[in-house]
């Protein structure tokens, strides 16, 4: 019966439910560590610019005068270098991928003024 070796597998898969999801009707279940996109907690950011220096694809732009933190969503390669290097731990890696689009998306976040508790250092 060496012609029908596949028969066992085929019969078994006849009686099982399909291995694929009806995506996008059925939403995808994300894993805990998936690297999807970057989010910032604006209240903690001190505009030091370390994330801009460490980003390998130059997707983050920090503007001190305007007090904005900009990220090019399509340029980010989800490497997590910015999250690891931020001194205030205000950047987070969330699980959902950036949705595909026909134009390049840029997100601009406005950082509010913080009260300085001590005198300015340098």
């Amino acid at each position: 019966m060496s012609q029908l070796r596949m028969g066992k597998v085929v019969l078994r898969s006849l009686f099982r439910k399909p291995a694929t999801l009806m995506y996008p009707q059925v939403p995808r279940i994300w894993q805990e560590r998936t690297r999807g996109h970057i989010e910032i907690n604006e209240a903690d950011c001190i505009l030091c610019g370390m994330c801009q220096r460490k980003c390998p694809s130059d997707a983050i732009i920090v503007d001190r005068k305007e007090r904005t933190w900009t990220i090019h969503r399509m340029g980010c390669i989800q490497c997590k270098s910015c999250v690891d290097v931020c001194p205030k731990k205000c950047l987070f890696m969330k699980q959902e991928y950036t949705t595909p689009d026909v134009i390049k998306i840029t997100d601009i976040h406005h950082i509010p003024e913080q009260e300085k508790p001590a005198a300015k250092e340098a």
Binding site: S57, A59, M74, G75, I77, K104
Partner: protein, 138 residues
């Protein structure tokens, strides 16, 4: 089988005239050709020939000026034609008596010899543009 033999690194200098003879000697002893690599140094090019026998590597370094013609080793190791054609296309290294010569058409590049030292500024701009579009699509 030695442990940690990958940490053994031997580099021997070699003259351009001795390339063919060294290749013949190594072939007779049963060595396998691993790679031919070129890098840009102030004196011109530095070629690295690597041979391997029983998991032990042997490297030869050849320093040559940019426009010198050197002997091809495809007469001894026929499979070296891939490495030599790549060097010919990217660095414009000239080879004598190459058995399978694509004549500069192995890689289809925009400009003839992108990594040759004189044309470095032009090609680095093209590489920057390619890279930003690549990151944008990621």
């Amino acid at each position: 089988m030695e442990n940690r033999s990958y940490l053994v690194q031997e580099f021997h200098p070699l003259e351009t005239g001795m390339i063919y003879e060294t290749a013949k000697d190594r072939k007779a002893e049963g060595y396998r050709l691993v790679q031919i690599c070129a890098s840009v140094v102030p004196e011109g090019y530095e070629l690295l020939y690597t041979y391997d026998l029983d998991h032990v590597l042997l490297n030869y370094k050849v320093t040559m000026p940019v426009d010198e013609e050197i002997m091809s080793i495809t007469g001894v190791y026929w499979s070296a034609f891939v490495f030599e054609n790549e060097l010919q296309d990217l660095f414009d290294v000239k080879f004598k008596h190459m058995e399978l010569n694509y004549g500069g058409n192995f890689y289809t590049t925009n400009e003839p010899h992108p990594w040759k030292p004189e044309t470095q500024e032009v090609s680095s701009e093209t590489e920057e543009e390619e890279k930003t579009t690549q990151e944008g699509d990621a």
